[in-house]
Symmetry: C2
Subunit: 387 residues, 2 copies
């Protein structure tokens, strides 16, 4: 990360500290550490209203950064601050959406601060607008993800299960540089590399807050492929996370086993039409709720609202930001308060779940620039036949 | 899960509530939900000092359980409790090691409780002693994991990278039913399926609190394989999580590329000797710190303490419990307070990292029964040659 990018991120946090009349801020979550430093460590980034950040580092022992101060436990921070002639903070911002209750209280006691104010939502808002370096990574990730998706027809073999196809895609992703895990924000967001939903498994309701569900192969992870044999006449929705770079893309494509019923092709075209309609009007300043409502309206016009984003359990969003987490702001719901802005990276995924057939539709990742939405997931959009 | 097992788990939590003079307990983390119910959902298990648990369920909408009461948000809980003629709790236990600070405060406000007491550590202690059903799953997982490890020599091809070998092992694991993700307790515990460390990459210090580190392939996940070509005369430590069942095993084995130096075979035998020595004396009641200290003593006797559990950054434990999380209690450190008890499942991993060669040693999962340690990872223990 360039010094310029690093300083500008630091200053954006310092503005928040000053505006909220706080004395400092502690950052220890991997995503926010990475966003600020370009690497992650076990420890705390301490930011004051002015001056450089201090990195209190537990591990690794050999971290190379001039700002690093090594410690064993957070209780040493006050003494270390005194040695460096920095004041102790009375009013401290912490990542209270990420940190456990116990970890927060421990830090609060260690620093002897009176009160704690959340900085996680501010950081998520700052991270929502990507730098050119971050956008370049998202584009690179999308290019590689497209290469992997192009290989899916060659990975399919008649008679295989949804899980077997998913495993071959996972392998192809890993061989192309997928990091494996990716990070989601919030509770109840467990997932493994992404989701492949074949036939009626796309209707299975899951406890997790993703666009679609699926039964999964184990009660400890009820999501995604369930081991069913892929059947002629059904569709497969493939929605894997494009995590080939720290900054990710997200993309879904639909495949038909041999030949799907006409309604599948029809509903799939409606999803593409929703994308094209949104692309035609969305630009910096467009409200995210307008985008959701446009999508829902088109679904209704085509008598597909009963299948929109699920059947019995329907997701109440059609898209989300992407970056270091797969679900960053903005979110596209009927009541989103956010508006599009230059530098955002968003994934739109209007999908339909057709009983007896499966899910259809596409998800693209778009970068918001001055002219509107730039699609960076340049991969065949039509329903692709597997034979 | 049988009604008997379910009730006995419920009663063990109710004893804690009564002993601590609390009014109730709320459980929402996936692992503790699964431990209590045998499945996971988005919502809250509410336990009072007496009577059946109440499940407040947000998702899935169609959860089939007589105890389920559906809601949209935790703020509805007081009204729902009133309707069911249950009192509101003044003193509430919550999973404050798992829940974020904000989620905890939200629940506390929603239930209008005066104070919050941690139940996560009690639950981790309860989960430490496995039921026969849970132990059977850990054994099944270990049997499958052994089958996968036996295939590793056939997956190796001369000239491949550490990452390429790891990807083929991941695929084999998935084809054998690996769930993909597994859960770790605590912060800074990100990992993907397990770790494969070849040659000097085993020395690379990582921010994560696992036995060994590794550079990884991306600064967003600095752990494990780093893409180096596997070299003749070096060793590979393969430590993948055995997550073929909700209750897991853990196993490491070491492989030599063609022929390793004598010191590698010697140090590997010392690791096996540590296992055998511990097996000879450990039984219910043995102190976990004695087990650690025995291992360290044998390492010292053999002049290998400088390489024990790392070189420059050495892990300060040689084992841990396994179950729904890969790192459950007890932990085997110089100062562990725990003692072995019937029904525990533990993984012991005394390892050595040899500069210029790589890591050696083995990790087995043991079940503690009346007679002592029963090894359930029945897989070749010698240094295995890859050609």
């Amino acid at each position: 990360m360039s010094n310029g990018e690093r300083n500008s991120k630091l200053e954006s946090i310092q503005s928040i500290i000053i505006n909220k009349q706080m004395d400092g801020c502690i950052i220890s979550s991997p995503v926010n550490q990475f966003w600020l430093c370009g690497y992650i460590f076990d420890g705390y980034i301490y930011i004051q209203p002015k001056g450089p950040a201090i990195l209190f580092v537990r591990r690794p022992f050999n971290l190379k950064d001039d700002r690093a101060v090594f410690l064993r436990k957070p209780e040493q921070i006050p003494e270390l601050l005194q040695q460096m002639k920095h004041p102790l903070p009375s009013h401290l911002m912490m990542e209270t959406d990420y940190l456990s209750f116990n970890a927060t209280i421990r830090l609060q006691k260690a620093l002897k601060t009176d009160n704690v104010v959340n900085v996680s939502s501010d950081l998520r808002n700052l991270r929502m607008i990507k730098t050119s370096v971050e956008l370049a990574q998202i584009k690179e990730s999308a290019e590689i993800h497209t290469e992997v998706y192009k290989r899916i027809p060659s990975l399919y073999k008649k008679g295989m299960t949804d899980l077997e196809l998913q495993i071959e895609i996972e392998r192809e992703m890993r061989l192309h540089g997928s990091i494996g895990i990716f990070r989601s924000f919030g509770e109840n967001m467990d997932i493994f590399m992404g989701s492949l939903l074949a036939g009626d498994n796309a209707q299975a309701a899951s406890p997790f807050d993703y666009a679609l569900g699926g039964e999964g192969i184990s009660p400890i992870l009820p999501l995604g492929a369930n081991g069913s044999i892929l059947k002629s006449g059904t569709t497969i929705m493939i929605d894997m996370a494009g995590n080939y770079r720290p900054y990710m893309d997200d993309m879904s494509r639909t495949f038909a086993i041999e030949q799907a019923p006409d309604i599948a092709y029809f509903a799939h075209e409606v999803s593409i039409k929703i994308h094209n309609t949104i692309k035609a009007f969305a630009k910096p300043g467009t409200s995210c709720s307008d985008i959701y409502n446009t999508a829902l309206e088109i679904a209704k016009e085509n008598n597909l609202d009963a299948y929109f984003m699920g059947t019995e359990q329907q997701a109440k969003f059609i898209g989300h930001g992407v970056g270091l987490e797969i679900n960053e702001p903005p979110v596209f719901t009927p009541r989103s308060k956010e508006t599009l802005a230059v530098g955002m990276a968003i994934a739109l995924e209007p999908k339909f779940v057709l009983p007896g057939i499966g899910a259809v539709g596409i998800e693209n990742t778009y970068i918001i620039n001055e002219n509107g939405l730039e699609n960076i997931t340049l991969c065949e959009e039509e329903l692709i036949t597997l034979k």
